[in-house]
Symmetry: C2
Subunit: 239 residues, 2 copies
């Protein structure tokens, strides 16, 4: 019997998902709903569900965090992410937590109902990973060498964004001060922080905060990624 857990905070979207699931998977059993990440985790644990479709960006605990704990407890859970955005920050966040060999999917809410149903079948019954074309693009970029950032650069960006000093970063990453600053320079370069549109526009920008601003507006970073990093930081220091 295949039970399905829906984790989605928007009531409209939730009932839409429910219908879509029942339509796409007529052989399925119970369809359980949860309205935020926290409740989703609990439901996944108590109902021993192996098929989850969920939103990223929820209040109580977002999809990435919920997925992480679900996967930690049962790495063979199949999860289909259904999100509004294909922000690089989300894509990276998901890629970071998917366990070895797990099957998952990532479709955008803007996709057609058909695509959603197809993805449901592919992921849940065929055990195939289904990544939306657009999301794929972001993945490529974030791995490849195009204007995207490498993992090291991304990590330092996050550290800067939570507000750490160079020295603190050096300590955390077991690097020298100078190395941290080198990486920062790369970062500045990649993010085009040095733009000089008019004349005499030098010294207008504080590169450090400017980098964060640019990353935010390019969706390389988003607020929830920063909050996540903040929690990690507290945890690693608070022991």
């Amino acid at each position: 019997m295949m039970d399905v857990l829906i984790v989605e905070d928007d009531a409209l979207h939730r009932s839409f998902l429910n219908e879509a699931v029942r339509a796409a998977l007529p052989e399925c059993g119970q369809v359980i709903e949860a309205e935020n990440g926290l409740k989703g985790e609990v439901q996944a644990r108590t109902s021993r569900v192996e098929h989850v479709v969920m939103d990223l960006q929820m209040n109580e605990r977002n999809g990435i965090e919920a997925a992480r704990t679900i996967w930690r407890e049962r790495p063979d859970t199949k999860i289909l992410f259904w999100s509004n955005y294909s922000d690089e920050a989300y894509v990276r966040g998901v890629a970071r937590i998917v366990p070895e060999g797990a099957t998952y999917g990532y479709v955008l809410k803007s996709a057609s109902e058909e695509r959603l149903k197809l993805a449901l079948r592919s992921v849940f019954v065929e055990s195939q990973c289904v990544i939306d074309r657009e999301v794929r693009g972001i993945q490529q970029k974030s791995l490849g060498n195009s204007p995207g950032l490498t993992d090291v650069e991304y990590e330092i960006l996050v550290d800067v964004a939570v507000g750490l000093t160079d020295k603190a970063i050096a300590q955390r990453k077991h690097l020298s001060l100078r190395s941290v600053q080198n990486r920062l320079q790369q970062l500045y370069e990649k993010l085009d922080v040095y733009e000089t549109p008019g004349q005499g526009s030098e010294g207008w920008f504080n590169l450090r905060t400017r980098a964060v601003a640019v990353a935010l507006s390019r969706k390389v970073l988003n607020a929830s990624a920063i909050e996540r990093a903040e929690r990690d930081l507290r945890q690693s220091r608070g022991i």
Copy 2:
């Protein structure tokens, strides 16, 4: 004849709104839909609509910007904002653009359908402003003296967040360098940037970027507020 314009990027929400509008305002005429802020502006202009219900946070042009241009052209337009969030950044953004004596509303998507319909009637036929309870709270905070920021502090926060240096801010705001730094200090204090959880945790944070991080996670700022500020900046310098 009362025509209504719906500006909302999510298809599900859009059709839900359409139904709600027809149910709440049986006397209404056409119900026009637009799927982003830009198209919304165009529709408002060509259809000469005087009643708009719209989302904040859309891709092409967000609700605040769209509302600003709509109101600039016809300040007596009645606009009901229907949003997922009550971020201080949004509430401030709206408050900043509503013209003298205009009637508008702000209800959260999490509110019941009844509340939404009631708000539709109140704003559109009774010409009464309807602000969601929760949003009201944020408004109070952002005006009052509680942990909220004053306007000056908020402005400097935005300037810092887009990445300007102290000197640049001083020039823009026609202040001395020292005054800018004074305001920054107030800001740091209000945002609790000086937190010292453990021992020897001094020098861990770069106050400037830390302030941005804190503001983001407290929803005092959000990415779209930064983008808006950025456009303003370019415009004021690019001439």
